[in-house]
Subunit: 223 residues, 2 copies
């Protein structure tokens, strides 16, 4: 018999040395995780919604989505977006700035700004789409990747079409691949799904696009 790990002939399945080494490395990794967690805690900023903090804010973001007159306070310095940064470089000496953010609801904008301060967000489906769009627009890649991962984990035959459309519109390559894989893997359920049947009538061109994309990636053989 040879050791599973070092491949040196051994009486045992894994020699004790290899097993202990793996365990030691695990302890080192755990220690590393603890240190990184404490760094994240240290670097996370207080929420900008804190009233005491609002006084120092030098930028106000206004969501332009109809009737809402609520707005979100922030700090130019904390804007972790190259797009905001470029905006602020032009008017950094002007005191408090106002930025209108088109096509976004107050809740999404507020969640977006909180993410810039904390790198934390609690997603649900619609919020993941909204934040992906904001993250794309303002080039916050960390959040964009997080939302895409969240959406990919929830792809199924029922939402494949809407996810495919979204992924194409917003150039979300991994979400697109994941949708096509889901369709290919469940093609029989997919072509029987309500979403598919509806879409065939409403937008047959889109259905053709999807099926063609599946062909192209050699994932799908039509039933």
């Amino acid at each position: 018999m040879i050791c599973f790990s070092c491949r040196i002939p051994s009486e045992s399945g894994t020699c004790k040395k290899c097993y202990e080494e793996v365990n030691m490395r695990k302890d080192a990794l755990r220690h590393n995780i603890e240190e990184l967690k404490s760094k994240v805690n240290f670097l996370t900023l207080f929420l900008p919604m804190n009233p005491a903090i609002q006084i120092t804010s030098d930028v106000v973001l206004v969501p332009c989505s109809g009737s809402s007159i609520a707005f979100v306070h922030a700090h130019k310095f904390v804007s972790r977006s190259p797009v905001f940064k470029a905006m602020f470089e032009n008017d950094m000496d002007e005191g408090q700035s106002v930025i209108n953010v088109a096509d976004v609801a107050y809740d999404a904008l507020r969640t977006f700004v909180i993410y810039l301060y904390t790198a934390e967000v609690c997603l649900e489906d619609q919020m993941a789409f909204d934040l992906f769009i904001l993250a794309e627009k303002y080039q916050v890649n960390h959040l964009k990747a997080y939302c895409e991962k969240f959406l990919i984990a929830r792809v199924n035959e029922e939402n494949a079409i809407s996810n495919y459309t979204f992924a194409q519109q917003h150039n979300a390559k991994q979400l697109l691949d994941s949708t096509l894989t889901c369709i290919a893997d469940n093609k029989e359920q997919f072509v029987r799904s309500e979403a598919y049947v509806n879409m065939k009538h409403i937008n047959p061109r889109l259905v053709v696009d999807i099926l063609e994309a599946c062909f192209a990636t050699e994932l799908l053989v039509l039933p």
Copy 2:
């Protein structure tokens, strides 16, 4: 023979299942580390020394250490110190504030502020002492723990006396313990060290303190 890990009788030293489980958990830990690292990168702020950033700064820290007239820009919002926070809460609406920081050199103050933005610092001995003092004064526990760990790793017979004195003055309990352990472990070299011989003449009371402390912790039997 029984498995090293699950203790179930097994033909091998560690059963394959346990070995693979440990390896899988290790991969999960590595993944966790990658995610935390990307979070730290995201949360790390640009350096406040960046000229484009200085314009948005709303606080100036002035080191009061003699002739230097250099000062350090910062943002009230980023001050990760309860002491600074309390100061700013009183004058948050006054625009740019000036804070005089006594008994500190420009380099140490600059490094301290950079740490508040990045959680990163490159330490050497004197800087570790200086930053420990600043971290203690402004209650930045994350940095204080980091400096103490750095100093502990460098305790030896030659610097044991100065480290002991520093640890006592600044209530660095772990550094104190580590100094006494070092002295106890190397008592023969210690009592022959230049630092010890000098200190016996200059400050015999301190030497008595150190030896008594070693006795008290039952670590040292005098040679």
